[in-house]
């Protein structure tokens, strides 16, 4: 099975500023990958570089086994992309935009596009210039779905959708992923959507992939520890895998967020510090906040 996307030691700089640093990962058919990170973490640059819009500074990215710098037309026809800023032509109606986009593909599925346009309530008779932000976003998503892509890449696809539209859109993504020959990568700020539909998370910070893997594994590996000590705690708590640490002024309680800490270590720390330790699991949003805290 060829990986849908394969990225090796990918780095990208704009002038002296490193935007992507040594990223290596793969996406397999059936994967729904959610990309999260603060503004400026490198999400858009990563998506655009792997699609071949601008060359990597070093390393490489391949889609269905073809290097992103020299993809064949046949491979490009298997990709759907929804950019953060849509590229609709203001004077054309939705219907005309779709017909025009469809004319570039031999495998365009007009029936699917019409069905989704109805389900998502996209007014196809109006010119793009008078559509709302959400309507524009839905229309440009339809343009990316019409060729039934094997790889769908979406940059902030749900930012201007209302909750109902978001849910319908996510269901469509899942329907695509259930057909296991397809893969989806989407970046978002809306962490709660990721928790539902993504089976993998790319957590980006400062151009690096801080976490690449199973969402469930991430949730089970990160714990927030609450320490209640009978005597003053040392100023620095040297837990391995510390993500963040806060200590109360009196030195008698502290909160530490750690990764991959086993029970034996926990008990040892509890005895050594003469402290009771409560361990708490975190949702993705909390994990995200702690990592950026």
């Amino acid at each position: 099975m060829t990986a849908a996307v394969s990225i090796r030691s990918l780095s990208k700089s704009f002038g002296s500023q490193a935007v992507l640093q040594n990223i290596s990962t793969e996406v397999n058919p059936g994967d729904v990958v959610g990309v999260i990170g603060k503004n400026g973490a490198g999400k858009t640059t990563l998506l655009e570089t792997l699609l071949g819009f601008s060359p990597p500074s070093s390393g490489n990215a391949a889609i269905f086994g073809e290097d992103c710098r020299s993809m064949s037309a046949a491979t490009k026809a298997r990709i759907g992309f929804v950019p953060q800023q849509d590229e609709l032509l203001p004077t054309l109606t939705g219907k005309r935009q779709l017909t025009m986009t469809g004319s570039f593909y031999s495998n365009w599925d007009g029936a699917l596009v019409n069905r989704l346009a109805q389900e998502w309530e996209v007014p196809l008779d109006r010119r793009a210039s008078v559509l709302s932000g959400g309507e524009r976003q839905k229309l440009s998503t339809l343009m990316a779905l019409g060729n039934r892509p094997d790889l769908l890449v979406l940059d902030e696809p749900v930012a201007s959708l209302d909750p109902l539209a978001r849910r319908r859109f996510l269901q469509q993504l899942l329907e695509m992923a259930a057909d296991e020959s397809r893969a989806v990568i989407f970046s978002t700020h809306i962490v709660s959507d990721l928790e539902r539909v993504a089976n993998r998370i790319w957590l980006m910070k400062d151009g690096r992939l801080l976490w690449d893997g199973d969402l469930d594994a991430l949730k089970s590996s990160v714990r927030r520890l609450h320490l209640f000590a009978r005597r003053r705690l040392p100023l620095t708590l040297d837990f391995p895998g510390t993500i963040s640490a806060r200590q109360a002024v009196d030195g008698l309680s502290a909160t530490v967020v750690v990764r991959d800490l086993d029970d034996a270590r926990l008990q040892e720390a509890s005895a050594r510090l003469d402290a009771r330790i409560e361990s708490e699991g975190l949702g993705l949003e909390d994990i995200f906040l702690e990592i950026h805290g």
């Binding site: 059936g30 729904v32 849910r167 996510l170 269901q171 899942l174 329907e175 992923a177 259930a178 709660s192 928790e195 539902r196 539909v197 993504a198 089976n199 969402l215 469930d216 949730k219 089970s220 009771r276 409560e278 708490e280 699991g281 975190l282 949702g283 993705l284 949003e285 909390d286």
Partner: protein, 125 residues
């Protein structure tokens, strides 16, 4: 039938496993009862299909569910071993943890808590 909360610290597949186990142990899901297909569950709860199939597979390995060729998963005939004392106690663990935490926060002694528990459980001793 299920309550799946994606934002909980407990992974979704684990929530599903816990709930199926409880429904089976409590008899609400009788042996032979069929569960919705992976696809239907994924659509209904808007979660990735792998999340559902992971839960189903683990429940199958445990002997709670069984796979039928070309048909949905169904509840297996339960062996006594599923309701051993240890297994049943394990199911109570999250609630016990929560109770212990609250008791400590309220500075109640173990004896005080146990006395209340006994009363609830109908122990006359």
């Amino acid at each position: 039938m299920f309550i799946l909360n994606p934002h909980s610290a407990v992974p979704i597949y684990q929530q599903l496993i816990d709930q199926v186990r409880r429904l089976v142990a409590g008899g609400q899901l009788a042996p032979g009862a069929e569960l919705p297909s992976v696809r239907d569950m994924a659509q209904q709860y808007t979660v990735h299909p792998m999340t559902i199939s992971k839960a189903y597979s683990l429940l199958e390995a445990e002997g709670v569910l069984e796979r039928q060729r070309g048909k949905p998963m169904r509840v297996a005939a339960q062996k006594r071993s599923h309701s051993t004392l240890a297994a049943r106690l394990k199911q109570l663990e999250p609630q016990l943890e929560a109770l212990a935490l609250s008791a400590r926060q309220l500075e109640l002694t173990p004896d005080e808590v146990i006395a209340q528990l006994k009363k609830r459980l109908g122990d006359k001793s």
